[in-house]
Amino acid sequence: MEQTSRRNIDTSTIMVRIIGYGFIGLFALCCLFPFILIVSSSFSSEKAIMESGFALWPKEFSTFAYEIVFKNPRLVIGSYFVTLAITIVGTAVGLFIIAMTGYALQRQDFLYRNKISFYIYFTTLFSGGLVPFYLLMTKYLHLQDNYLAVLLPGLLSPFLIIMMKAFTKSIPHEITESAKMDGAGDFTIFLKIILPMSTPALATIGLFIALGYWNEWYNSMLFLSPNMEYRPLQLFLYNVVTSADFIRNSAAASNVPAQDIPLETMKMATAVVATGPVILFYPFVQKYFISGITIGAVKG
C-alpha cells in the first residue's frame, strides 16, 4: 500500500500540499493570536494592563485573577455542571430527532417531504419576535427559572435538519430499498442501518448542537433570573465581562477588598476558565470523523 501510493504522488499533489500546509498553518496562527492575548493578559497584573494595555507576554506576571476565581469555585463549578448537563442531554435528544427527521425528509418516496421541509425552513425567515417568544415561554409554558427554558429552544434548528437531510442523501437509496424487501419497517431501517452508517454526519451535527448549547447565553439571560443559584457558564461569563458590580459580587468570598479586585484580568481569567476545557473536547469528536472515513471505505 505505502509504496504504490508513494509512486503516485505527482508534482501537483505536492504543490497542493505545500499550499495547504502553508495556508492552514498561517490561518491557524491568526486564530491562535487573540487567544494568546487573552491567556497572557489573564496572567498579567492589573496594574500592567491599566498602564500599558494588552501584550503577547505578561509584563508583570500574576496569578491573582485566578486565585480570586478559584477561591470560591462553587459558583464556577456549579455553572460548569449546569452547562455540561444541558449540553449533553440537549445534544443527545436533539441529535436523535434531527437525524430521524433528516432521514425521513430525504426519502424520495415520502410524499410530504417538500411540504414539511418548507414548513421547517419557513421558520428561519419569520419569527414572532422577542415579546411574543417571551410571553410564550413565561406565560404559557411557565418556563421561567427552569433549565428547560434553555434546553428546549436549542434542541432543533432548521439549518441542522436540512443539513442532515443533505448528508443522508449520500447514502444510496438501494440500501433502504433492499432492507424494505427484507421486511424491515422505516423506523427499523433508520435505527439499525442508517444511523450506524452516518457517523461523520452525526458527529458534525452533534458538534454543532453541542456548540450551540455551550455558547448559549441569551435565553439564559432572559429566562433564568439571578434567583437561581447556578446559571449557565456563558451567562456567568457575560455578566463578568459586562458588569463590574457582578465581578465584585462574585468575588465576595475571596476576602479581597472590593476596590482591589482586578476587573480587567478577571474578565480574561474567567474567559479562559470558561473556554479552556472545551478545547480538550474537540479531538474526541474528531475521532468520529476518522471512523466515518473507514465506514465509507468498507461501503465502497
Binding site: Y134, M221, L222, T242, S243, N249, V256
Partner: protein, 520 residues
C-alpha cells in the same frame, strides 16, 4: 407553486387559530385581575414580588435579612416579600420585557429620569392607584404632599409613589484634584469650563503619563454641563436620545420651549470640545473606550472624573484612603451661574404593576417598608450587629465586619425617607455643607406635573433620537471635524427629522400646562 400557495394558506390558517387562542388567553387574565375584590381581608397569606435593579448579592446575607423582614411582614400584613432582581447586564431589555410581558409583578422600582417611568405609564405598565392609596397605604398617603402627588399623575391618575422625603442631589459636574490645581497655580475652586481647561493643560504640561480627563465615550454629559453653565435653560422631561434637544428658556420664562442646539452656545461648545480634543485632554479613541475610569482617577492616572454629588461624597472619603494627601473638589455645572433646579421628586419612585394580583396588599407592604422603622432599617441596612452598629448616632461597621462576607444591599431606591436614615460614619462630612449651598441657590422644578404626550409625534421623536445618537457623541469629544460645520449639519438633520413639528407640539402642550399651573 400551486402547492406552495396551498401551504401558505395552511400556515395562515394556523397562525390565525393560534392568535385566537392567544387572544382569548390574554383577555382571560385581564378579567381575573379586576375581579379581585377581597383586598381588605388579610386572612390569605400572599407573596408580594418587587422588581429591583442591581446584581443580586451572592454571599447569603440577603436571604438572612429577608427572612427577618418577612417575619415582620407576615405579622403585620400577612404577606411575604420576594425580590425579583434585574441584573445590570442588559437591564434595559429585561426591565422593559418584564413590564411588556404583563408578568404579575406587584411593586416596581422606577424613575422618570433614568428609567422612562412616563413612557412605561403611557404603555400601560403601571396600575392606577389613586383610589387604593388612602386606604391601603395611609401613612404614605398622608406624608406625601398633595403637590407631590400631582407630580406622579399620568392622565390624572396616580401611577407611582415618589421618593420625595429623601434628601439627595444628583447634580452633575467634574471632580478634580485640588492638590494638583494648586501646583498649576489654580488656587480658587474651579467654577467654569475655561478654568477647567487650564487645569487640564496643567496636567498635560506637568504630569507625564496622566490623561487629563480619561472618559468612556458614552459620557456626553458635558453637553448638559455647558448648556447649564452658560445659559439659564432648564432641561425638559422629554428624552430625545443621548441628549435632550428641547429645553425651557429660563427660570423666569420656563414655558417657552427652545433648543440650545439652535443657538450659538452649541457652536461655542463644539468649538471648545474640538480644541480640547486637539490638545489631547482625552484619549484619541475615547469613543470606543470602556475602561473603569473612576478606578483610574483614584489611582492618580487621570486628573478628572465626571459624575454627580452623591458619587462625589462617597469618592471623597475613598480618595483619602487611596491617595493619602490628595484632595479633590467638585466643579458642579451650577457653580458658574447658579443655574440649579430642584430635583424632581420622581428621581426614584415605586409603581404597582398593571397586572398585579394583590395591589392592596402590595401597597400595605410598601407602606410598612416606608413607615415602619424596624422594617425600614432591616430592608435598607440589614441586621443590626452584623451589617451595622450605631455609635454616637452614626452608622458604623461592627467589629469583625467583613465587606465580602457581610455586605448587604437591597437596592431600594423607590421610597427612602430621611426620618429613618442613619448617617453613615464613612460619609464625607462636607456633603451637608454642599447641600446647604445648593439649597440656597436652588429654584423650584417647574415641570413636575408636565407629562408630554408624545403620541402625535412618536415617529418624529424616534427620528430625532436617532439623529442625536448619531451626531452628539462625536461633537462632545471634538471628533466631528470642523465644529461649526458639524453643528450646522446636526441642525439640518434635526430639521429633516421633524424638529419644527415636535417643537410646535411641545409648545402647544406647554401652553396648556401653563394655563393649568397659573390657573391654580
Amino acid at each position: 407553486m400551486v402547492k406552495m400557495k396551498r401551504f401558505l394558506v395552511l400556515v395562515m390558517v394556523m397562525m390565525l387559530t393560534f392568535s385566537l387562542v392567544a387572544c382569548s388567553g390574554s383577555s382571560e387574565t385581564n378579567s381575573s385581575t379586576k375581579t379581585n375584590a377581597n383586598g381588605d381581608d388579610k386572612s390569605k397569606f400572599v407573596t408580594i414580588t418587587m422588581m429591583v435593579l442591581g446584581d443580586k448579592p451572592t454571599n447569603g446575607q440577603l436571604e438572612k435579612v429577608m427572612e427577618e423582614v418577612n417575619a415582620k411582614l407576615k405579622e403585620k400584613a400577612n404577606a411575604k416579600l420576594e425580590l425579583k432582581w434585574i441584573e445590570w447586564a442588559d437591564y434595559m431589555t429585561k426591565y422593559n420585557l418584564t413590564l411588556a410581558s404583563g408578568e404579575p409583578v406587584d411593586l416596581i422600582i422606577t424613575a422618570t429620569d433614568w428609567l422612562d417611568a412616563w413612557g412605561n405609564a403611557k404603555k400601560g405598565a403601571f396600575m392606577d392607584i389613586t383610589d387604593l392609596l388612602p386606604k391601603y397605604a395611609p401613612k404614605t398617603w398622608e406624608e406625601v404632599s398633595d403637590e407631590n402627588w400631582e407630580q406622579t399623575k399620568y392622565d390624572g391618575k396616580i401611577v407611582m409613589i415618589p421618593e420625595d422625603s429623601f434628601t439627595q442631589w444628583v447634580n452633575h459636574g467634574f471632580f478634580y484634584r485640588t492638590d494638583w490645581a494648586k501646583e498649576f497655580g489654580i488656587t480658587e475652586p474651579i467654577k467654569d469650563f475655561e478654568t477647567l481647561g487650564k487645569y487640564f493643560q496643567g496636567i498635560k504640561d506637568n504630569k507625564p503619563g496622566v490623561i487629563p480627563w480619561d472618559s468612556p465615550g458614552t459620557n456626553v454629559t458635558t453637553a448638559w454641563g455647558y448648556t447649564s453653565s452658560y445659559s439659564d435653560a432648564i432641561e425638559l422631561p422629554i428624552t430625545t436620545g443621548v441628549f435632550p434637544i428641547y429645553w425651557g428658556k429660563s427660570h423666569e420664562d420656563p414655558y417657552t420651549v427652545t433648543s440650545p442646539v439652535f443657538e450659538d452656545i452649541f457652536i461655542d461648545y463644539a468649538k471648545l470640545m474640538k480644541d480640547w480634543a486637539d490638545k489631547g485632554y482625552w484619549r484619541d479613541d475615547v469613543l470606543n473606550y470602556k475602561g473603569d475610569t473612576r478606578a483610574l482617577f483614584q489611582a492618580g492616572k487621570t486628573g478628572a472624573d465626571q459624575h454627580h454629588t452623591e458619587t462625589f461624597s462617597g469618592l471623597r472619603t475613598q480618595m483619602d484612603a487611596k491617595q493619602p494627601g490628595s484632595e479633590i473638589d467638585m466643579f458642579a455645572w451650577s457653580d458658574t451661574r447658579n443655574n440649579l433646579i430642584s430635583m424632581s421628586v420622581t428621581h426614584g419612585a415605586t409603581a404597582v404593576g398593571a397586572h398585579s394580583k394583590n395591589p392592596e396588599r402590595a401597597l400595605m407592604v410598601y407602606d410598612l417598608i416606608r413607615n415602619d422603622e424596624e422594617i425600614y432599617k432591616l430592608f435598607n441596612y440589614g441586621l443590626e450587629g452584623v451589617q451595622y452598629e450605631i455609635k454616637d448616632g452614626k452608622r458604623v461597621r461592627p467589629e469583625g465586619y467583613d465587606e465580602t462576607k457581610h455586605a448587604f444591599s437591597s437596592n431600594f431606591w423607590g421610597g427612602r425617607v430621611d426620618k429613618f436614615e442613619i448617617p453613615s460614619a464613612d460619609k464625607w462630612e462636607g456633603i451637608s455643607e454642599m447641600y446647604a449651598e445648593y439649597d440656597k441657590i436652588k429654584k423650584p422644578y417647574p415641570y413636575g406635573r408636565f407629562v408630554f404626550n408624545s403620541t402625535p409625534v412618536e415617529a418624529e421623536i424616534s427620528a430625532l433620537s436617532q439623529v442625536t445618537a448619531q451626531m452628539v457623541p462625536a461633537i462632545a469629544f471634538g471628533k466631528a471635524g470642523d465644529p461649526e460645520k458639524a453643528v450646522k449639519d446636526f441642525r439640518k438633520r434635526l430639521n429633516a427629522a421633524g424638529y419644527e413639528k415636535v417643537l410646535k407640539e411641545i409648545q402647544k402642550q406647554m401652553d396648556e400646562y401653563k394655563k393649568l399651573v397659573e390657573g391654580n
